[in-house]
Amino acid sequence: MLRLSGIGKRFGGLTALQEISFRVAPASITGIIGPNGAGKTTLFNIATGIYPPTEGAVLLEGKDISALPPEKRARLGLVRTFQNIELFGKMTVLENVMVGLHTQTKSGIFACAFRMPWQLREERSIRERAKRWLDFVGIAELAGVEAGKLSFGKGRLLEIARALALDPKLLLMDEPAAGLNSKETQELAKLIKSIRDRGVTVALVEHDMDLVMEICDSLVVLNLGSMLAEGTPKEIQDNPAVVTAYLGEE
């Protein structure tokens, strides 16, 4: 589904990432783990086109998308959520999801201003679909609330609903469990699995090891900007290099 090939990133003189290459298999859940500062979020930013890599290429279904801006990548089915939740705080929960349906609608500035009949039809249909996505993540009753007023956990769910609305092929989640309590994390695990079962490939950056080990099909470990290991959760748990990186030298 997604292939990263020889990704490197430098900020000025600082090397944030080097020689990162791995694949994310279709309809799987891939976890990207590593200590703080390993470069996980930077990797997501490069994958989604928020900034360009210094070297290497990003391939989506075999197509090189390294030069595309984020909005084009989103249209190709590559969508993400953010570590600190980037909701549109001054819009309602429903409207947030409707923005997620932006790529599936066409009405331009004139059709919208003049309320052309097809624009009204489109509007009705995405309103319904947005409600269904809210239902899917379980926050349908909050549709009319200002997104900025949601609790962290609900905001996370909204962000997932909004991302799913794009009908992604690949969903990148940046620390989806951060800031959630254990009950919420359990529900999140279920939700992520059900997303995968709908045929959406998931890649996530996460610190919560219980969650990662429970839901991921394969893992990639980064340390200090480099690939440390790759494999199934079981293999990673038994990998001495990983244990050292997390616990330090003995």
Partner: protein
């Protein structure tokens, strides 16, 4: 020869206004570097400097050095009040509200000056007479020399301050990374106030030394401020030589353009340069491009 003399003449007057733009540019950069704010009221500090000096001389009959002191101190007081009353209450403000507030301050200051001292254009007497000095076929006024001297002095002093004093270094630390600076115990709030202090004093000084040459009125601040900003942009918003060079280049281009093409479009020249640089090299003329971190 005639033509050559003319060019020299334009260059000299261009360099002197350019030096003023450089000073104003530096005063922009100082606030920008410690707060991330482009202070739209910066030009008003320049105007205030000139106006206060004139008022001190004509109404209060102070001698020139005292008038200069009154102008600089008075403007600095306004700058500090501005920071306290308008900038500080806006903690965590968006750039948009900061822009709006500084614009508000700028027209407030302009309006008050107009109400108190009227709309007339006034001139400050030159610091040391107006007997022209002949140099290479062109004439230089003593005031030009004053401008060059003060600009040079300010550049040297700011270099010393920012690189060789603890406070100056602390201010630079704030500009690189505010959070890190506050973690090592630098009072960021105090540094912001200090940057407004230095910046408004510098603006006032620029306003005072230019006033004998160009006349001053309540509404000269807009143009001077914008051109100073243009200089700062050319120098990449740094507080060093780039801005000074930017100011001088701008001054000379403007003076040549006004002399050789059309004086009506003089002000437009600065803005064409400004737009060109913003579009093509927003990092300034003399800096290498860098990837910004999101």
């Amino acid at each position: 020869m005639e033509f050559f003399n003319q060019i020299t003449q334009y260059a000299i007057s261009g360099l002197s206004t350019g030096a003023i733009y450089a000073l104003i540019g530096l005063s922009f950069a100082i606030i920008f570097n410690s707060t991330g704010i482009i202070n739209f009221a910066q030009g008003e500090f320049v105007m205030l400097g000139g106006v206060l000096a004139i008022v001190s001389i004509t109404a209060l009959h102070l001698p020139m050095p005292a008038a200069v002191a009154v102008a600089v101190v008075g403007t600095t007081a306004v700058g500090l009040a501005f920071e306290r009353l308008a900038i500080r209450p806006l903690k965590n403000a968006t750039p948009l509200s900061l822009i709006i507030v500084t614009i508000g301050a700028s027209i407030l200051i302009r309006g008050l000056v107009m109400l108190i001292w009227g709309k007339d254009t006034k001139a400050l007497p030159p610091f040391s007479g107006d007997t022209p000095i002949e140099v290479a076929g062109a004439t230089i006024l003593p005031q030009h020399l004053w401008i060059f001297a003060v600009t040079l002095l300010v550049i040297v002093a700011s270099r010393l301050f920012f690189h060789h004093t603890i406070t100056g270094k602390a201010m630079r630390a704030c500009s690189f990374n505010r959070r890190a600076a506050s973690l090592v115990g630098i009072g960021v709030g105090r540094m912001v106030l200090l940057s407004f202090l230095i910046s408004s004093a510098l603006g006032a000084l620029a306003g005072v030394i230019i006033a004998p040459l160009t006349m001053t009125a309540y509404d000269v601040g807009v143009m001077l401020g914008l051109k100073g900003f243009c200089a700062a942009i050319m120098g990449g918003m740094g507080s060093g030589f780039g801005t000074v060079l930017g100011g001088l280049i701008l001054g000379v281009l403007e003076s040549l353009g006004a002399g050789l093409i059309s004086s009506g479009y003089k002000d437009a020249i600065a803005f064409f340069i400004l737009l060109l640089i913003l579009f093509v090299r927003p990092q300034g003329l003399f800096k290498k491009g860098e990837t910004d971190r999101v």
